[in-house]
Amino acid sequence: MYFILDLLLLGCINAIMAAGVNLQYGYNGLLNVANYTFTAIGAYVAGVLTLGKAPQGTSWIGGWSLPWYVGLLGAGVAASLAGLIVFLFSIRRLRSDYLAIVTVAAAYIFYNWATADQGLFDGGNGIFGVPYIFGGSTITTNEYAALLLIPTGAILAICVWLSRRIFRSPFGRLLRAVREDEVVVKAFGRKVWHSQLKIYTLGCFMSGLAGAMFVFYITAWSPSAFLPGESFFILAAVIIGGTGNYWGGVLGAFVVVEGLNELTRYLPNFGYPADFGAGRVMLIGVGLLLVLRYRPEGLFPERWLHWYERRPVTLPVTLRRRPLPTAVTDAEGANR
């Protein structure tokens, strides 16, 4: 029973992360190679906000025993701030790989800082003893996991709903156009980096929320939980599930989680690098290659057709008879 709950819960958390990464990569083509770091930042912040003062022999910042929803919000804000900083660093450069290298650099710098600075998050030991958000000390792990599904599922639902809204809006269209050809978008008067910045920080915000739920579940967090390799699983999840489709990330997260299908796997790998048993990771690699080759849009491809075809615009009879479109005749915008 616990196994299923655990699977569901961690699947949901990974799905929240995937939703964030999908916004960045699927919609806008921004490859976030260190997305797990933003999750980690969220986890740490949520942890230190809800924890009490550090006990003897350990130390961490914060420790104000705030309610869990403050921790949750703080996690999102902290992660998106980090995303903002990373993005702003790379803004002057035109090459897309610069954002990638800046992201990686930020990841390593944060990892180093979290490990080396004892006062920040207790260095290599990390934070622990994060209070349960429901039930206090009388509750069993099973019951807690089940209860935790509710807020986690709700957050996931909200993230998917927001993704859907963005997709079906001019903002989403702009993002996807930038993904296809940034130069042309500029030629039509849009400042490209504005929308990129917005979606990047939003994606990081979601990763932060996922981190908060992680730490509420595991009640601890340390640098060994966010080794660089973890980010790649989420990327694989988004790509296999379907870039650009808001359900794709969710599906991908569950597929990748199922594919890994063991407790030690999708839990952040505390201590030594993951025990990749019997070729499961290899399977993901093969799956990724197959998807790339034969179904590059992912298992759930982008589905704007559904939206546009369901409500086709039929021209009123009067317009059909006119030879010239009204768009060209009027320079003043009276058509609005």
Partner: protein
Amino acid sequence: MHTFFLGIGFGLVTSAILALAAVAVSLQLSVTNFINFAYGDYLTLAAYLAWSFTRAGIPLWLAIVFSGVLTGAIAVIIHILVFRRFMRRSVRPVTLLIAGLGVSFIVQDAMVIIWGTEPQRFTTTLGSARQVGPFLLTPGDMIIILTGAILLLGLHMLLAYTKFGKALRATSNNLDLAQASGINVERVTSITWFLVGVLTVAPAVALVLESGTLDPTTGFDELFVIFGAVILGGVGRPYGAMLGALVVGLSTEVAGMYLNAGYKSSIAFALVIILLMFRPSGLLSAAGKTS
């Protein structure tokens, strides 16, 4: 001053290792035009192969040769099975990047299956550190620096003076033009991969000898510093990569002597980013690349 030179000494070793790997990556990048995320795992693979050969009783130098050839062959096979299929269909560069990711998953897991996740010890007894001028180096260090220099020199001569070298430079500069001039671009690419694989053994073994342990993630851990050096040197410019590696290696080690050593990789990355802000196309300007 003593600390400074100690740092330079370490830096030279680090730079040598880094330079070899960075040059290999840069070579591959210049010809195939994409960044191979699986390269770290090629490093690890080369190290494991060498280690396995030594365990079978083969002397180290021979094990390195065998491992080099084998790694080169594997690199070519992977290219044919995976990367070439994508390249033939002219996909977006991001797709190749992700393909590299997929390969990384496969190779890394394969190594886990074959060799397990327990770290292995890989040492040689070559004597202890000795004072060489202002530097403090072990014989192992000196061999690494020497080997690195020789290999890089050999590579330089290959690129500059041989027919293949010219073909490679032409391909990396302008693929279409090279093809139109009658160069068999596919063959050049395959041979480049082989070369990259062979070249990878040196930094791999050096890396492992330096740290003494080997596990499936050893190479991957160095991956991004290598990319940093490559990008710093100017994308697709092997000589730039050497320079980038030198800059990164030296400054990190020297800085690491004065600051908290745990921050070394942060220093490396911070350095790369700051330098890139001032010279976006890398230390050697990218003029001349026409593709």
